[in-house]
Amino acid sequence: MTMPSRAELSTLVRTKVAEVLGTPVEEIDESTNLEVGYQIDSLELMEIGARLEAALGIRLDLRELIGVETVGQATDLLTRRLEAQP
């Protein structure tokens, strides 16, 4: 699988966040703070993680995911994980 660009990953994360939060994707940008802006709870965060795992065919560490606050940080986490793929 070709490594997606950062822009593509950002779009993917924004899309999955918007799906779970039931908002238009345009409402979500890299600076969106999921905790402060949406009071996201742990189950919703894990659901976003599960949807990203399914879309990218990777496994995410739940502990890492729980530490994520913004959409940009989630995109960075995914980038690191994909770069570390063998």
Binding site: E19, V20, L21, G22, T23, L43, E44, M46, E47, G49, A50, A54
Partner: protein
């Protein structure tokens, strides 16, 4: 010192008969069944292909998209019915959050999401939605009500099969009398309209098989009845300690005056034919209310339209009322059987009927069963004096619950 009284100050319903209290009551007065063919059941060519769904329920009227994704249908119907009841009572903020409790009855709990998840993810269990546990747990609907309104008193879920909704109202009444809460949101829910669930009930012969005539299928106390019709729905009552309700100027529909609860201990799904234990349950509710059988203006029967239930219930009523039961109605001819939602819905409409002095007729009652020697209300609504009502709910497992409700003019 006299015992604390429990006032009913709000009603909310999401049922096959209607999604507002007035619409549902009018539908009962009209006595036309709400059973329809259900595409999923027809497509699977099941033995039973019809049921009573809640029509025209629009989740978007109560929930945003984020909530719609998280709450399954049972939780949605419950929160919506509870929200209606709270609005009807003008009860938001009327009691401290930690003095407000949620009391919900459900016979089948999260069985609909359970079967959907099991069927959908059988080959890939690890891929199931993250919130699967939060969807299937039977406590989810009550918890979502508490979450939505911030109620921090007891949040309890009761399971007494088809009696669950009445049990929840009765148990909430005891908590209010004991002073453990000042306000209770009490009701019930079930959403059993799914292929696996309907097939399971059909397997034990509990359901009507009139696929050719769904609207004529649910026939409480009728000579040719052949089983109940599956329904879905939720209803809630707002209950408050009487003096508090009076002090805040709340409109009071009436009082939960009596509650009886006992168990046949006879058979896992069949009632005792002579109705002795159900009659004892009614007796207990009357004693609890401080009333005599002659004080009751009408009876809201459990009346499922199974051959066994209706005959046993008729025997119990004759026994309890000394051979002369007051007029009897049975809403399940219209709504089908809402399982855990039934007792709560029927408490709401029974209290309205008692308060308005008009008893809805039983749907599809062409020829009354001669083995059910009751004054069955049929053909058109019956005018009666405003008087207390007794409402029965009996469940598989032998669970019996009876409420006595006294209307307030």
């Amino acid at each position: 010192m006299s015992r604390p009284r429990v006032a009913v100050t709000g009603l909310g319903v999401k049922t096959p008969a209607g999604t507002s209290v007035d619409a549902a009551f009018d539908c009962l007065l009209d006595a036309r069944s709400r059973a329809v063919h259900v595409p999923e059941l027809v497509a699977r060519d099941l033995a039973v292909q019809f049921a009573c769904p809640v029509p025209n329920f629009d989740p978007a009227a109560y929930f945003n998209q984020r909530e719609i994704r998280r709450l399954d249908r049972g939780a949605q119907l419950s929160v919506a019915a509870a929200a209606d009841a709270i609005a009807d009572a003008g009860a938001e903020g009327a009691a401290a959050p930690d003095r407000t409790g949620v009391f919900l009855g459900t016979g089948l709990g999260g069985i609909l999401p359970s079967t959907m998840i099991a069927l959908g993810w059988d080959t890939d269990p690890s891929g199931m939605p993250v919130d699967s546990v939060a969807r299937v747990m039977p406590t989810a609907p009550a918890a979502w009500i508490a979450l939505r309104f911030g109620f921090r008193g007891p949040c309890l879920t009761y399971a007494t099969a088809c009696a669950s909704g009445a049990t929840a109202i009765g148990e909430a009444t005891l908590k209010l009398r004991a002073g453990e809460v000042d306000m209770a949101i009490a009701g019930g829910v079930d959403t059993p309209i799914g292929a696996i669930i309907v097939a399971a009930f059909a397997r034990i012969g509990a359901l009507s098989l009139h696929n050719d005539d769904p609207a004529g299928a649910s026939r409480p106390f009728e000579a040719t009845r052949d089983g109940f019709v599956m329904g879905e729905g939720s209803s809630f009552l707002v209950l408050e300690r009487w003096e508090r309700a009076r002090a805040r100027g709340a409109r009071i529909y009436g009082e939960v005056a009596g509650y009886g609860s006992n168990t046949d201990a006879f058979h896992i799904v069949a009632p005792i034919a002579d109705g002795t234990v159900a009659a004892a349950c009614m007796d207990a509710a009357l004693v609890d209310a401080g009333l005599k059988p002659a004080d009751i203006g009408h009876v809201n029967a459990h009346g499922t339209a199974t051959p066994l239930n209706d005959r046993a219930e008729a025997a119990a009523l004759v026994r309890c009322f000394g051979g002369r039961p007051p007029p009897v109605t049975a809403p399940k001819g219209v709504t089908g059987h809402l399982i855990g939602g039934a007792g709560a819905f029927e408490a709401a409409v029974a209290l309205l009927a008692a308060r308005r002095g008009v008893v809805p007729p039983i749907a599809n009652l062409a020829v009354p069963d001669p083995d059910c020697p009751l004054d069955l209300v049929r053909d058109e609504p019956r005018r009666i004096p405003v008087a207390p009502v007794l409402t029965n709910s009996f469940g598989f497992g032998g669970h019996n619950a009876t409420l006595v409700l006294v209307p307030e003019p």
